[in-house]
Amino acid sequence: MSEVKKTIVVTRFDPDKDEVPKTQSYEIPVQDDWKVLEALNYIKDNVDPTLSHRWSCRMAVCGSCGMNVNGEPKLTCKDPISSYGDTIEVAPLANFPVVRDLVVELEGFMDKFKAVKPWIIAAKERAAEEGTHRQSPDELADFKSFSMCINCMLCYSACPVVSNEPDFLGPAALALGHRYNQDSRDEGADERNEIFRDEGGIFSCSYANECTEVCPKGVNPSGAIQQAKLNNVVDWAKSFVVPRRKSS
């Protein structure tokens, strides 16, 4: 295993001392099979224990270690260090308030996430004797890719609409809402579509497609949002023929 030196330029921000974030450079030995996260862990463990960053699973499942690496939102545990040159810039996700160093404020995301009612809404509870829900492979495929989201928020960091519209629910939340609308067990589409059509909903999306480009799990949020738009156009047209059900 060859060992080379690379300079990691990390954004630092201490809310007790710093007016605004600044950067700090660390020249460290790296191994070419490392991911970017391992370089950050090396700094924390061996050079500067004050560095703060989030991580957990190290295998692109937990969604904790999203950061902007050379300006591009990445899961740092999935991002090979060998794909970069001698200097690598690591910054907290864009479009998020920064709590400290590479750690961003998640609560705004959680608010948006809850707003789309990401759970199965059924008009009435299914009795136990009716047995389990049956769902065909095709019915599963209608939403499966949209259910693979790990809430890493890379999509929010890349989206120009998130920057400009504070109320925009954003790619992951809207894709998740669409995921439930597409689920054959769900009956909440009317409720969610009212949220989708409201301020900051699907029609705020201008299809920059950045969310889909940066998604590490192939969720395709922009595709979900365009599908939701078309569904809402059809729904709107239908409302002239059949009055829309009022949701409580």
Binding site: N164, E199, F203, N232, V233, W236
Partner: protein, 117 residues
């Protein structure tokens, strides 16, 4: 504007498709072919073009190509405005773009109807 978003988006996506497919033909033949004098003068002469434009299919194609792309363009330009930080004036700017698309669409329909008058 919110209540109208589904219909505007419907017109917008139709406008992108129709405009992207039909306008290049018009631009290539009438604007560039005619403008550079490459296309035979008779082909774009009044009699032939009038006959084509008043044919029912021709009239439909003209209305689609002259009206729908306005919505495609208006919606794109509105979002471009927002992308560069124009959300605060979205009501005014978006209203102007969609207003222009609406006026232009009415004008396009009238222009075609007038040929049949």
């Amino acid at each position: 504007m919110l209540k109208l978003e589904p219909v505007i988006w419907g017109l917008f996506s139709g406008g992108m498709m129709i405009g992207g497919i039909l306008l290049p033909v018009y631009i290539l033949v009438v604007a560039l072919g005619g403008g550079f004098g490459v296309v035979d003068g008779q082909a774009l002469g009044y009699d032939r073009v009038f006959a084509l434009a008043t044919n029912p299919i021709g009239s439909l194609v003209l209305v689609a190509a002259a009206a729908l792309p306005l919505w495609g363009g208006a919606h794109h330009l509105r979002h471009l405005w927002i992308d560069f930080g124009g959300l605060k004036s979205d009501g005014l700017v978006g209203g102007l773009f969609y207003g222009a698309a609406l006026v232009g669409s009415v004008y396009a329909v009238l222009a075609v109807l007038r040929l049949h008058g």
